[in-house]
């Protein structure tokens, strides 16, 4: 069951990663009308359209992560400590705190991306999205590395 939830957690994280990355690119590097290349098309997506999905995906991913976190604490972390993988443990500790800060950012993130967009809040939207994107990327990469080192029931 835990393995199933871990895989689901990872899949949701992939979807979240894609959505927040697209939105961050569109918010920071908006393209003009003549966008033909792959990169230009990524820059031209409708950034506000991702907001609802990002909030829901973040909540679902975090809820699943919080649920399987207890299993990690009992079965995985102790092994990492025995392996003296201090940097890995520290990175995971940062992941849990970063994810918590991201959770607290969701109300403001949602508010500033509400339609109709307030042009005066463009920089705030871009900044909030970039911070949230950093948190999601960090959590994803650290989770991936820890799973590679010591997956459940490995």
């Amino acid at each position: 069951m835990t393995i199933f939830l871990l895989i689901l957690h990872g899949l949701l994280a992939v979807a979240l990663l894609g959505a927040i990355t697209h939105q961050a690119i569109a918010a920071w590097f908006p393209a003009g009308q003549s966008a033909d290349s792959f990169v230009d098309r990524a820059r031209r997506v409708s950034a506000p359209a991702y907001t609802g999905a990002i909030v829901v995906l973040y909540l679902l991913t975090m809820a699943l992560g919080a649920f399987i976190y207890a299993e990690y604490r009992v079965s995985i972390r102790i092994v990492l400590e025995q392996l003296e993988a201090r940097a890995v443990n520290g990175s995971f500790e940062l992941k849990e705190h970063f994810a918590a800060i991201g959770l607290g950012m969701l109300p403001a993130y949602w508010f500033y991306w509400r339609r109709p967009l307030n042009p005066g809040h463009a920089r705030i939207r871009a900044a909030l999205t970039l911070v949230l994107a950093f948190i999601v990327w960090w959590a994803f990469l650290v989770g991936h590395v820890v799973n590679n080192i010591r997956g459940f029931e490995a």
Partner: protein
């Protein structure tokens, strides 16, 4: 553009208060409750480990969430100036919190 409502201050106030309260809750270990994963038991407040590790993360989230909720509601009582002031800090404070945790956990990376 719609006029800001009296609740416009809530989201930014919540985010700022949550980041600060969470950082303080972790630093001072002010968990609203403790979870003992090895035996599957919950307890109010900060409890010592029992038959395995004790998890305070859920309790820290609850502490920060409640603090942020009340702060956000309080910010709604000052509707005119609060949103503009909070706009300047709404992303700066969370970034500060991230940096704080990087500093707090530096021992894992540097001996």
């Amino acid at each position: 553009m719609a006029e800001p409502s009296r609740y416009s201050a809530f989201p930014a106030a919540f985010t700022i208060a949550f980041a600060i309260a969470y950082a303080i809750a972790v630093d001072r270990n002010l968990a609203l409750f403790t979870y003992h994963p090895a035996i599957g038991e919950w307890g109010l407040g900060v409890q010592a480990p029992m038959d395995g590790p004790a998890m305070y993360w859920y309790g820290w989230l609850a502490t920060a969430g409640l603090t942020a909720l009340f702060t956000g509601l309080a910010a709604c009582l000052v509707p005119h100036r609060a949103p503009r002031f909070l706009n300047h800090w709404v992303w700066v404070v969370p970034v500060g919190a991230l940096l704080f945790f990087a500093w707090l956990l530096r021992g894992f990376f540097f001996r």
